[in-house]
């Protein structure tokens, strides 16, 4: 690596604090609710999505409780509403905003050496729009919920379902504008506001991932707005768009919906990949393996994600030839994912690995993502998908990606950046315990579902034949462990806010610009605009040193 100006640091400590941190400057409620500081807005988002994560989680808990026995506990109508609301809330109110609106919001400006995002007011507006959509979805939920599944398949959703489908669809519609605002903000910020010397090939991979995901969000989300709008038109006015009795085409909905929702899968996973690409080099104390390969893989995932949507429709009655083309594209999209997995793994080679909680989450991510990936290959294979489509195999597959991988990365990021965000250290032993518990609970919950899927258990079923109970029971037991593993961080992180040790500026000895300022960061981030002289991840496992992106050499 080429380090042009390497100056040895006098001390790892930051310069004496000259201004109050972003947390302490201004303590009124208005100073939070009207803030234009990206860091505060990130925390507002964190509060909102945590709330929805637990609402969606409660729905999931009820579902697993119901499925512990074939007879079940819930009324069929209640169960159907639970999985619908679980899907809608987890997808649009947790997973899609999760990493971008919180860690993206907080750290993209810090990592590229900017004072804020390009449009701070738009950023705040995005949070209000998000909460507006959140209120609508809560309204739908409290009034009785929708019962269509999160995919709103027509003509069930437009003609036959009688829940609060309109409200749920409108929540999704409004929510999309929040995504659009946030992604636009990131794209402009990353293009225009990088510090001197922060060239594209010196961007931390997390920033690359947020950039890639923003492009996908910005281009795909307007389609979702069209979809939900047309859904509402047919449901209310009865114009025959999707209803065959009025000359519509039910498959048109699926094409339009998946044209958004397949890229949405990448909206959920790309930021997680970015997080893990930060964590692994930092805790393996060596540069990431194949930086440019990683950026190419990210961008090709973003682009290819638009050309695979009909792999959700292999048995829906699309032409055989369309099926073949979309299967081929799906295999292509798996290639960059495979490259990333290998690069992360080889990034451990000749490192000097420490197993702190963020690293445990990151390693968990790689393993769970790989399981999700190889089962994705099986689903991409046309003939096998004919058998597996619509079964629990699919459920297990996408939970491995979206929960196993993304939520692990989310927790990894939370722990990694917690000292920076709050200025406090979390209790490491508890955190490691929670990370391992997550991994165990997750596999217990979802691995049995692969087996159930191949046995033929259909998804979205409130009951099943008694012979399948053992696997369902195991899955429900695992879910209770997983629930504990997800609540635990809430407790010890909450505790650390008050009792945790004070964090130094750079407790992990990491190279990013965000670690060159005090913890928690001052209100305006950088006193003077940093000048970047080197690529990210200049860790040296041989000499136990590292060089920050500003070119300052530190001993560990």
């Amino acid at each position: 690596m080429s380090v042009t100006t390497v100056e040895r640091a006098a001390s790892v400590e930051p310069p004496a604090r000259s201004q109050p941190s972003y947390l302490t400057s201004g303590n009124t409620i208005a100073s939070w609710l009207l803030t234009r500081d990206h860091k505060r807005i990130a925390l507002l988002f964190l509060a909102s999505i945590t709330f929805y994560f637990f609402i969606g989680g409660i729905a999931a808990t009820l579902m697993r409780l119901n499925l512990a026995t074939p007879q079940g506990l819930l009324q069929p109508a209640v169960y159907n509403r639970m999985f619908t609301m679980h899907g809608i809330i987890m997808v649009w109110f947790f997973l899609i905003p999760s990493i971008p609106t919180t860690f993206g919001n907080f750290f993209v400006p810090l990592m590229i050496g900017a004072r804020d995002l390009a449009f701070p007011r738009v950023n705040l507006a995005s949070w209000y729009v998000f909460n507006l959509s959140g209120l609508v979805v809560l309204y739908a939920l409290i009034m009785g919920g929708a019962d269509t599944g999160w995919t709103f398949y027509t003509p069930l959703s437009t003609v036959y379902a009688n829940g609060y489908v309109f409200a749920a669809a409108m929540a999704v519609f409004i929510n999309g504008f929040s995504s659009i605002m946030t992604s636009l903000n990131f794209i402009v910020t990353i293009h225009r506001m990088r510090a001197p010397g922060m060239t594209w090939m010196r961007l931390p991979l997390f920033v690359w991932a947020i950039y890639a995901v923003s492009i996908v969000m910005l281009t795909a989300t307007p389609v979702l707005a069209m979809d939900t709008f047309l859904l509402a038109v047919e449901r209310f006015i009865g114009v025959g768009l999707f209803d065959p009795n009025h000359g519509g085409d039910p498959l048109l909905w699926q094409h339009m919906f998946w044209f958004y929702s397949h890229p949405a899968v990448y909206i959920m996973i790309l930021p997680a990949m970015g997080v893990v690409s930060e964590l692994i080099p930092c805790f393996a104390r060596r540069p990431i393996f194949g930086y440019s390969g990683m950026t190419i893989a990210l961008m090709s995932l973003a682009i290819l994600s638009f050309f695979v949507w009909a792999h959700h429709m292999f048995v829906a009655g699309i032409s055989i030839y369309a099926g073949i083309v979309f299967s081929l594209m799906t295999f292509f999209v798996a290639v960059p994912s495979a490259i990333k997995v290998f690069n992360w793994t080889v990034s451990l080679h000749k490192g000097s690995i420490v197993f702190d909680a963020p690293m445990l989450y990151a390693l968990g991510f790689v393993l769970l993502f790989t399981v999700g990936g190889v089962t994705g290959l099986m689903l991409a294979t046309l003939a096998v998908d004919v058998d597996l489509h619509g079964t629990y195999f699919v459920i297990a597959h996408f939970h491995y990606i979206m929960v196993g991988a993304t939520v692990s990365a989310f927790f990894g990021a939370l722990h990694y950046w917690w000292p920076k965000i709050t200025g406090r250290l979390y209790p490491e032993m508890w955190a490691r315990f929670a990370a391992i518990l997550t991994y165990v609970g997750f596999n217990l919950t979802f691995f049995p579902q692969f087996i159930l899927g191949y046995l033929g258990m259909a998804r979205r079923s409130y009951t099943y034949p008694a012979v399948w109970q053992s696997w369902n029971l195991l899955s429900s037991a695992g879910a209770s462990i997983l629930a504990v593993a997800y609540v635990l961080p809430l407790l010890y992180l909450g505790w650390s806010l008050f009792r945790g040790l004070k964090a130094t500026a750079n407790p992990w000895g990491a190279t990013g610009l965000e670690w060159t300022i005090s913890s928690p960061p001052p209100k305006h981030n950088f006193e003077r605009t940093p000048v970047v002289v080197t690529e990210p991840y200049c860790y040296d496992p041989e000499r136990h040193t590292f060089v920050t992106q500003e070119g300052v050499l530190h001993d560990e």
Partner: protein, 315 residues
């Protein structure tokens, strides 16, 4: 396969054997990939944890050799799977000549089945073993999906059109039939069973149903009752195409396109005639949607398919 803990579904059709082999091959590949990743991760974690004295000198600097290597390797493996999967898919979804054709109507929340002999059943399908069975499927309301895990066959049943699927059971027994597309409140109980019987048992079952009119005969009655014959009979004065020998031919439409006269086409002629016109005829064919149910359409289709006169249709 009633183990206390089931691991593997029954494999009871030729379709199932073929899909099963592919599935096992993919499990194998998945295993190899997982083992590689876990193996590398464990090795590196143990060898290079912080406290280990292993040398860190001479780290790989040029990474692209490796990246190209595993890109090519994965791409090659993926292409094999792709071709294999696509081949089987085409075979699964292009029905061979059938020994028996049954008709399936899906509606919230039941499967109604009609046999060519006119026998009907609900949430059950009796078929003979070792015979190629073709199913023609329609939905009266929302999208359902016809799935028999033991046969590894599945197809959505989309309202507004007909779907075709086939299988050849090679074991007798009772197998689960289910709906895998969420279709409303009782989706979970939209299940049934496929009874695969020996040829003799199946013949006995058919006669035990005590049905006198075959599907074709019932179709003929519908054909007369709805006045189709008034226009389409040989000696009708109305200028309408003869339906004799129509099934399986290529029909030239007014807009210049050519359509294969399969089941879905005939259904469209009856329930959606406004969307196209046969070349050379006035667009006077009435729209029967709302008057003729999907079940009656099946009878009409069976009847029209049976019209195999020596005379070719005049088009």
């Amino acid at each position: 396969m009633d183990h206390w803990i089931p691991f593997w579904p029954d494999t009871a059709a030729v379709n199932a054997v073929v899909v099963n082999n592919l599935y096992i091959a993919e499990l194998g590949l998945a295993g190899v990939i997982m083992a590689t990743v876990i193996g590398m991760m464990l090795t590196f974690c143990i060898r290079y944890w912080r406290g280990s004295p292993a040398s860190r000198a001479n780290r790989v600097q040029k990474t692209w050799h490796f990246e190209i290597a595993w890109t090519v390797a994965t791409l090659a493996a993926f292409l094999v799977l792709f071709v294999w999967g696509a081949q089987v898919y085409v075979w699964l979804f292009e029905p061979p000549p059938a020994d028996e054709e049954d008709y399936v109507v899906a509606k919230q929340w039941m499967w109604k089945i009609e046999h060519p002999g006119g026998q009907r059943e609900i949430d059950a399908l009796h078929v003979p073993v070792d015979k190629t069975i073709k199913l023609v499927m329609a939905s009266e309301d929302v999208i359902h999906s016809f799935f028999v895990p033991a046969f590894r066959i599945k197809h959505d049943v989309v309202p507004g059109t007909l779907e075709v699927i086939w299988f050849k059971a090679d074991k007798t027994g009772v197998f689960r039939l289910e709906c895998t597309q969420y279709c409303g409140l009782q989706h979970a109980t939209m299940t049934g069973q496929v009874d695969v019987l020996t040829g003799a048992d199946y013949a006995r079952w058919l006669t035990d149903q005590g049905v006198h009119n075959s599907l074709v005969q019932q179709g003929e009655a519908v054909f007369r009752a709805h006045g189709c014959s008034g226009c389409h009979d040989q000696n009708s004065t109305v200028h309408a195409p003869s339906l004799v020998g129509l099934y399986g031919t290529l029909v030239h439409l007014q807009d210049g396109s050519v359509q294969l006269a399969d089941e879905a086409y005939i259904r469209d002629c009856i329930l959606n005639p406004r969307s196209f016109t046969v070349a050379g005829y006035p667009p006077i064919m009435p729209d029967f949607s709302g008057q003729i149910s999907e079940g009656d359409v099946f009878e009409l289709i069976a009847y029209i398919k049976s019209l195999k006169g020596a005379q070719e249709p005049d088009k």
